[in-house]
Symmetry: C2
Subunit: 767 residues, 2 copies
């Protein structure tokens, strides 16, 4: 746990330079614009510890799998997002001495991520070993409005001398992934050019042959006035640089503007990637820094307008929730259905930047409520487009007849993970992907999605479940053997309640979806039946039989659902009985000890109760919560949010707030000393959920928003905004009142605390 | 499956040279002498596919573990036996053209492993591309009587020319393991010397710093008469060579004798390894080839005298069983308690040459019955000496108070394996190590072993079991959660019957052992209690409580023991229902599919019934056999032997013979196309067991040998020899009679077909 980030409602601030926090700050102060993302590495040379990172969304490399003992069915490759050419680099030399914060005396260091404006600023004074002092002020932004461009404004003021300053802006494509399995470099050079103040490199990924062109163009001002430079060029393999010398006088502000552009063959034919980069760079350069900044501010203003959360009376909480919303928005904008959200976004290499079930289970609700409708739809279409690969994946594991198993971890639809107990057994992910279709339609009302895309996916997933269960002669019931539930501290168990629940739910919902499409779009229905070779009678008959006879683990005595068969044979000790020195258990216990213990990594039965809460009365929810919560160690960042929501649900506001705290500032306070690897982007959506669905008690019921707010004792009031079918609702909750303002121009029917209301356009409902 | 080995009772013969069989033959024709072992690589250069392999027992390298996803508790290193310097190399040049069987026309090729004499011979005629023809006759042996030495007699006869032949005998220490995890070379050069016809290299292993010196000395004869040579030397890094030129006349037999010696710091101080090598080489050289060969024949004569098996009426079976006995004896002689038996012996790199539970469960009975008493004892002492490491290993997994978990795979006592479901959960190995103590004492009567060594091991293992079980409030019984039984096609199951059985047996036997030592050697008893800090009352009380209340999976309806909880929930299909194209399932099914299937890789419940057969009546054994056998796919080489023994036990001679066939010629006929990786040395002991314990029905009961022979219909008769407490018994079984001959000079009481007899010295009992 760290505690060096200064509290502020709109800014993330680091004051003073401490080298040991630097890699964590590189993660926390990351910038992104949905298209590419950049860790908060320094522009100038830095010889201290650093994880250099720039990532281009959708551009990946299939790194040969590293495995100790091979199991049949393992994928050959782990597709990972690549560390892409470094576009931020500006080496700075002062009278022959290189600026390097690891080697000089740094004072007045302030690093600021301005979440309102979407930019990163860094100010410091450096005293070189020669005694020369300079003041540096550097601002960087990745444009949200023109997502192929970025700009850096890098100002240097000589404080106690007059002399030669050399700026050497460069693009370095000779980069590699820290997590490369076999220490390989993933890029080959295609071409480069440099002349005057402009340079380009095009590189291509090995194997996948993605082409990426990175360009830079610079401008120099002295005290705000542009000056001519006589830039010299330097090229090396995978490297271009220009060199700009200036005789600087004491007190002058010398500013280098470095405009950058990144284009890729994701969006252009390969032979056009360079010319597209020229064009993008020219747009940025002609806009100039100030225009780019004001466009950036305007974009973020609109974003906050739609999805801000305000906490009154708790700056730390305010900063925490805004940081989460900010990171989510700069990671994924939803404009491109080929992209998705890696667990670390653009803030690190861990998890390979790939897609997990986090997207459907945690991120989707956030984007549904805070972004345009097409954003949620694009997340769904990402999976729709990968359906064929999911069918192939299931075939590799022996499933037939168009059954689909979506991968645990993927970039292009192919499975990338290789732990058998996860890859082959943590199959509940398939259920999350089915549920997301339901969740999207419930939120948006867009039932047409079923017709166009959803039904095909649902049929394929249902077919998987129908084969994955097996008939137990002993029980005369269907069972689900050999699975790993969301709680990964149990492996290869039988009849994980959550998995069986989400599987049978899928079988039910798919039947409803079939009926809906058949009735509303008979032609399309026939088309789907033919395309999928769906044997209506036989397959649905089997599904019904499964639904009629499925076995669910349950304990009569306790009247709670059982996480899996045999759970009550475990030693029933509680998380509170663990010694602090033993926690987290995943760092202190051997794997077998974890497995045979009762301890739960993340919500499992409770994840199911959260998803399907309408099926259970409050007493059942409370009983299960009271049984499982004390056994849960929350060693996944995805766990506390679900517990927080359920605690709110059962009226346990105190615990709801406790769980919320564990998730809201997870990265800012670096609870687990791992932020240097990147931020927990997807679990940030969980934090948002525990706010809006937890404290706000928001649900969608009967095609209407539903709220049942509560407020933590520690807060004065809070306010959040959500979209709903074209309207924006602003929900204000204080100790005494609930005000819901309809910011849109149409009336909105809704339910608050189980009472129905309609709020007219631009009116406020006060309760 | 291959079928190129010619049937012969005493020889393994390959006629004709087929390059695609060569790597398999390199395994099959391997030589060893317990101290080192050599694959049947060619002496002369061979540019075809080959796995060059020479292995020095006990000399290993801790290769950095390769793992995909790290789990807490994994070992950092996998200790593996090293590919040691190549001592056999003799390059041969005929009038400037190099002899290379991959590049010339080879006729009359015969490779013979003579099991009676313990040597390898190869004869062939080669026509070089120049048209020159030579006849080669090469014999090699690794001395069993002076196990630091070896010799090659390599004869060349020019058939159609007169010209210059150059022999270049060399030692190449620049070798590497094919299975190196990170492609590293494991040896550093320490020193070398070469002069005249003699050369030496000393190398040291990285990290472990074992020193190994390899020496060679040559002699040349023409038509049997020694000739002076003027050998020239060549040295390179990790390489020494001499070059001997001779003008050979057509029809002359030119013979190079290459004597070799290998010494290591296992047996000498490092600074003496070279001089010891000088001494060993000098012993071999002065003995000469013929003396070494006659000593070798004498050694093997005595070995066969003690442990031969004769099958009349089936040459293939005869060759198979002798091959197994031969390989076992050349892999492990039992003279050094620091050594053990790797699953591939000296015939390949797979499994790293490390020790598995195979040693106790399969090999020990073979050595008890066919070798001197100290051989079995040394196998036990190997584990005794590693007790501290086993206690450390258990501590790493969270066990306390002197509990020991012996490693799954080890070289020096440290765990080397890293699949969590095996390393941490296949803990039944601990039981096999306890049972081996009992088995050894039962066979030898050496109860003193308990006093000196056994009890400490038993207490430590019992302590492990007492902590590894846990109390189930639900069952009000002790359970054993999260284990993998011998059937590795089930992972992380609860209450594996075999594991629970062997665990509780250990708790019982340890109490008997404690009582025995207390009564017979009270001083030593006190010493052990103090050394182990054994809390007699408390610990034994807990053990008794476990024994009183242990839960065993059992199915009432079928009246069979259950392999584990939930086994009957699986789809109950049988191995015979599998399509041939799906077998072996481990090559055709994904791992999860294997896991949730009913199919059993190797005897599991049946392994327990085999070990503890006296606890069960015949009907129970038959019921369990009939239930589990049809579900067993025998995809471990260790499986059919146990099934064969039990089939014999229940009088199902037909199936006993079928299972026997699956194990006896496993390697010779290369059933699974994997012999190129090495022979299944440890399972060869299983084959021997299925003969002697299966067909011969041999047991030890009440301190006496017990026989209940049956004979496969296909055979006329068979004969085997076993040691028993200083006596040798020769058991002859034909369709009509059983003759047991006491070859020793003292009378032997025994039981045959449940009747007691005593056979006087050198007399025969006819039944």
């Amino acid at each position: 746990m760290k505690n060096y980030i200064k509290h502020d409602p709109w800014k993330i601030i680091e004051e003073g330079f401490d080298m040991k926090n630097h890699t964590a700050s590189e993660s926390l102060f990351s910038l992104g614009n949905g298209r590419f993302g950049q860790r908060a590495n320094f522009e100038e040379k830095y010889s201290g510890k650093s994880l250099q990172g720039n990532y281009v969304a959708g551009v990946y490399y299939p790194d040969k799998t590293r495995v100790g003992w091979w199991k049949n069915g393992y994928p050959e490759y782990f597709a990972k997002v690549l560390n892409a050419p470094n576009w931020i680099g500006i080496n700075v030399t002062i009278e022959g001495e290189e600026l390097d914060l690891a080697k000089c005396k740094v004072t007045d260091f302030v690093r600021t991520l301005n979440m309102k404006e979407g930019c990163l600023n860094r100010k410091f004074t450096a005293e070189l070993s020669s005694g020369k002092q300079i003041k540096v002020d550097a601002t960087r932004l990745l444009s949200m409005t023109d997502d192929e461009t970025a700009v850096i404004k890098y100002s240097v003021e000589p404080l106690n001398f007059t002399g030669k300053i050399i700026f050497s802006p460069y693009i370095d494509a000779d980069v590699k992934n820290e997590d490369a399995n076999y220490d390989e470099k993933f890029w080959d050079e295609v071409g480069k050019e440099v002349s005057g103040n402009e340079g380009y490199i095009t590189v291509a990924t090995k194997k996948t042959d993605f082409h990426v062109c990175t360009g830079m163009k610079t401008k120099l001002t002295v005290n705000g006035n542009e000056v001519e430079t006589n830039a010299q060029s330097l090229v090396k393999e995978k490297y271009v640089q220009t060199k700009i010398e200036i005789e600087a006088r004491q007190g002058q502000i010398i500013t280098l503007f470095k405009f950058a552009a990144i284009t890729s063959s994701m969006n252009y034919p390969k032979h056009d990637v360079l010319s597209a980069c020229h064009a993008a760079l020219s747009r940025a350069y002609s806009s100039g820094f100030d225009t780019m900044l004001s466009q950036q501010i305007a974009w973020w203003e609109s974003k906050w307008e739609h999805g801000d959360i305000i906490v009154n009376g708790d700056v730390a909480a305010q900063q925490g929730i805004r940081f989460n919303i900010y990171q989510l928005n700069q990671t994924y904008t939803g404009e491109d259905e080929r992209l998705n959200i890696g667990p670390k976004g653009f803030t690190g290499e861990k998890y390979g930047g790939s897609t997990y079930w986090d997207t459907e289970a945690y991120c989707l609700p956030f984007y549904l409520a805070t972004a345009e409708e097409n954003v949620g739809k694009n997340l769904l279409k990402y999976r729709y487009k990968q359906l064929d690969k999911a069918i192939e994946n299931a075939q590799k594991l022996g499933f037939t007849g168009g059954a689909a198993l979506y991968p645990m971890v993927t970039m292009n639809g192919e499975e990338c993970h290789n732990e058998w107990e996860i890859t082959f057994e943590e199959i509940h992910r398939n259920g999350a992907i089915a549920f997301a279709i339901y969740d999207y339609i419930r939120y948006t009302g867009d039932k047409n999605y079923l017709v166009d895309f959803g039904l095909e996916v649902l049929i394929a997933i249902s077919r998987f479940w129908a084969q994955r269960v097996s008939w137990s002669e002993a029980k005369e019931q269907y069972v689900m053997l050999g699975v790993t539930g969301p709680n990964e501290y149990e492996n290869n168990v039988n009849n994980n309640w959550y998995t069986s629940k989400v599987a049978t739910w899928t079988l039910k919902y798919t039947q409803e979806a079939i009926a809906y499409v058949k009735e509303t779009e008979p032609t399309r229905y026939t088309e789907i039946i033919e395309k999928t070779k769906f044997d209506v009678n036989k397959e649905i008959k089997k599904w019904k039989h499964i639904l009629d006879t499925m076995y669910f683990a349950y304990n009569q005595e306790l009247d709670v659902f059982m996480q899996q068969d045999g759970f009550m044979d475990k030693e029933q000790i509680l998380a509170k009985d663990l010694k602090p020195s033993e926690r987290p258990i995943n760092q202190n216990w051997s794997w077998d000890r974890i497995l045979r213990s009762v301890f739960i990594k993340q919500a499992d039965v409770l994840q199911g109760i959260y998803l399907f809460e309408d099926e259970f009365d409050l007493a059942t929810i409370r009983r299960n919560f009271d049984f499982y919560e004390p056994r849960t160690v929350h060693e996944s960042s995805l766990s506390p949010c679900v517990h927080s929501i359920l605690a709110s649900k059962i009226g346990d506001n105190k615990r709801a707030y406790e769980f919320y705290l564990r998730t809201a500032r997870l990265d800012l306070d670096d609870y687990n000393n791992e932020v240097h690897e990147g931020c927990h982007i997807t679990s940030m959506a969980g934090t948002w959920m525990s706010f809006v669905k937890g404290f706000g008690g928001m649900r969608i019921k009967n095609d209407k928003p539903y709220f049942a707010p509560n407020i933590p004792e520690e807060w004065e009031s809070y306010l959040f905004k959500v979209n709903f079918r074209g309207a924006i609702l602003e929900v204000f909750v204080s100790k005494n009142e609930i005000n819901i303002k309809n910011l849109s121009k149409k009336s909105v029917p809704l339910t608050v605390l189980d009472k129905n209301y309609t709020i007219n356009a631009e009116q406020t409902l006060k309760i």
